[in-house]
Symmetry: C2
C-alpha cells in the first residue's frame, strides 16, 4: 500500500468546461480507520455527466461538492484494511470513493459489494454495463418506462455508457431501438455491432430527416439523456400516449442558463407520461440487475465497451470527453491494478 493518498480537491466551481484549474491535487497520508470503517484502494474511477452537476452550487439531487472537499465520484477497488466485519480485506466493492487513491467508508454508508459470482469479470465492467450506467439503462427501460415489444424507442447519447446499453436492452425487450449519436463511426457501431435498428447522426446537416426516416411510425418512448434541439425534435414525433424516461440533459450541463424544451406543450397534445428518475433509487436491486446484465453479456446479447484513460491525474481533462463525445461506451479512469 502506498503511504500517500493523492486526492483531487475542488478548488473553484467551473464556468463552462471543466479544467485542471478547478482542482487542487494534494498528497495526504492514507487515513487511519476508526471502528466500523473500511479502507478501499481505488483502482478504477467512473466518469459520468452527473459529476459536472455536483461541481455547481445549483440545487440537485445531492448537495454540491464543497470547495476544498475531495471531488465526488464513483469508483471501484478492493478493501485493503477493515474494521467492519461485513467488508473483509480483499473484497471487491464500489461506491462514492471520490477522486482519490484511497477511500474510507463508514459503517453508516458502506460500499456496495460486487456480486461474488461476478468478481471474475474485468473489474471496470462493474462501473459500466454491470454498474451504475448499466443499471440506469436497465431500470430506466424496465421501471421508469416499461418498454413493450414493438415500441419504437429513441435513445439520445446512444454512443455513451447508458445509451449504448439501453439500445441493446430495448432489443432484448422486443422494441425497435433508434440511437442518436455523433458521427458516422459511432452510428455505424450502434447498428453494425450493437444491433440498433437505426442510428441518427446529430452532427449531420440532415439529422432531422434521418430521425424522421428512422421513426416512420412515430416514437413511443424517448430515453432522454441529452435535451436541446434533438429532444425537441423527438418530442415533436411522439405518438399519443408516449412515454419519456428523463435520465439526463447533458447538452445543458456546461451551460449556466440551459434552455428548456420550447415545444413542452407537445407533452400535452400527445398525452405523454414523463418520468424523471435516478439510478440511486434502485440501488437496493443492484445484485439482481447486475446478475441479469451479466447473463445477457454471457449470452452474447449485450456488448460492453469502454474508453479507458490511464492515470488518476487525467481525471479533470478526461471529464470533458463526455461533453465532447470523445468517449465510446463507458468512460473510466484506470488508477491502479
Amino acid at each position: 500500500m502506498p503511504a500517500v493518498n493523492r486526492r483531487f480537491l475542488l478548488k473553484t466551481r467551473p464556468e463552462g468546461r471543466v479544467g485542471a484549474h478547478n482542482f487542487q491535487l494534494v498528497r495526504e497520508p492514507v487515513p487511519r480507520l476508526a471502528d466500523g470503517e473500511v479502507l478501499v484502494r481505488n483502482t478504477w474511477l467512473s466518469l459520468d455527466p452527473t459529476n459536472r452537476g455536483w461541481m455547481t452550487d445549483a440545487p440537485g439531487y445531492m448537495p454540491p461538492v464543497a470547495i476544498g472537499e475531495v471531488m465526488r465520484g464513483f469508483g471501484l477497488g478492493r478493501v485493503v484494511e477493515s474494521r467492519n466485519p461485513d467488508h473483509p480485506e480483499g473484497q471487491l466493492v464500489q461506491g462514492l470513493t471520490g477522486w482519490q487513491d484511497h477511500a474510507v467508508f463508514a459503517a453508516a454508508e458502506p460500499p456496495m459489494v460486487i456480486p461474488p459470482a461476478l468478481t471474475g469479470l474485468p473489474p471496470s465492467w462493474h462501473l459500466g454495463a454491470l454498474g451504475m450506467t448499466g443499471l440506469t439503462a436497465y431500470f430506466g427501460l424496465t421501471e421508469a418506462v416499461a418498454v413493450r415489444p414493438g415500441d419504437t424507442v429513441v435513445i439520445s447519447a446512444a454512443g455513451g455508457a447508458v445509451g449504448s446499453v439501453a439500445g441493446q436492452i430495448v432489443k432484448i425487450l422486443g422494441g425497435r431501438a433508434v440511437g442518436v449519436a455523433g458521427g458516422p463511426e459511432k452510428c455505424a457501431w450502434l447498428v453494425d455491432e450493437l444491433g440498433f435498428d437505426a442510428a441518427v447522426d446529430y452532427k449531420a446537416d440532415d439529422w432531422r430527416q434521418q430521425l424522421k426516416a428512422a421513426t416512420p411510425d412515430g416514437i413511443d418512448v424517448d430515453f432522454e439523456n441529452v435535451g436541446g434541439p434533438v429532444m425537441e425534435a423527438v418530442f415533436s414525433r411522439l405518438n399519443i400516449g408516449a412515454r419519456v424516461a428523463l435520465c439526463g440533459l447533458i447538452s445543458g450541463y456546461n451551460d449556466a442558463a440551459p434552455l428548456g424544451p420550447r415545444n413542452f406543450g407537445a407533452l400535452i397534445a400527445k398525452r405523454a407520461t414523463l418520468q424523471g428518475f435516478l439510478v440511486l433509487d434502485h440501488f437496493p436491486r443492484y445484485h439482481e440487475a447486475a446478475t441479469q446484465l451479466a447473463r445477457w453479456i454471457d449470452d452474447g446479447l449485450l456488448v460492453h465497451r469502454e474508453t479507458v484513460v490511464e492515470g488518476l491525474e487525467q481525471a479533470p481533462d478526461a471529464l470533458n470527453m463526455l461533453f465532447d463525445g470523445h468517449n465510446t461506451g463507458k468512460l473510466v479512469v484506470h488508477i491502479a491494478d
Copy 2:
C-alpha cells in the same frame, strides 16, 4: 328560428393577440339537414385558452382551423330540428358548435347530451364546472395525478375556469390547495370564497416569497395551466416523487416562440412524474363526472363562477380576456336565450 346563421370564419392566423381582424363575420342561411343530422341553436359559447392554439397552423392535438372555415369552439344549445332519433327536438346538448348561431352535427360526430337530471341547472354551467373545464379539473386531479389526502397541490391560473374548480376539488380530496392568480382580489376570492388554503399573487413583486411561504413543506403536485417563470418556481420546489398534471401552458399561447422550463432537469432530481392530458380523452365518462360535480355544487362544496360576455359578435375580443386575466371563473358568451 332566425333565417340567418351568423358565422365567424377564420380569415387570418393571429400573430400575438387575437382580434376581430382575424375573422370574417358572415351571414348565411340556416343549413338544411341531411339524413342523420341534427340542427342545434347555439345559445352559449365557451371561450377557452385552447381556442388560441386551434388558430395557429402549428401541430396540435386537433388539426388547425382552416382559413375560411368557421372558427372552432365549444357551445351549448337545444336541438331545433332533427333527422337523428337519438337527438330529438328540444334536447339540450353541447359540443363543437363553432362560433355561430346554428350548428349541424352529423350522426358520426353527434353532440354530447346534457345529463337529463341536470337540465334544470343554469345552462351555462354545463360549459363550466359541469362541462369541459370542470371535467378537466376533475380528471386531471383524479386520473392524471391522483391527489391524496395531505398533498400540497399548486394550481396555476387558479382564478380561471379550470383552476378555480381544481382547487375546490383538491380540498374535497383532502389536499392542501395553493392557487396562483393575478391580483389581490382574485387571491382573496380563492381563499375567502373558494376555500383555497393559500393564494399567490403572481403580479406582486414578492410572488416568489409568497409561493415559498405558501408551501413550507414543498410541493407534491403541480396542476399546471400556465408555464413560464411561475412553473419554473414551482418545479424548483417540488418534493421527491412529485407529480405534475400538465394541463395547459397559457403564458406561451400568444407567443410564436415560447420558452420551455429552464430548470427542466429538476424533474430528474425530484424523480417527478409528469402527465400530459386532454379532457377529450375522458368524454366517455362525461355523465359520471358531471353528476359528481353537480352533487358537490348541491352539497355546497363547489362554487361555480362565470364571467358572461353578451353577444356572439363579442367573441373575438373576449377571447383575449383569458390571456389578460380579465375573466374570473368560466368565460362564456351568451348568444341567445
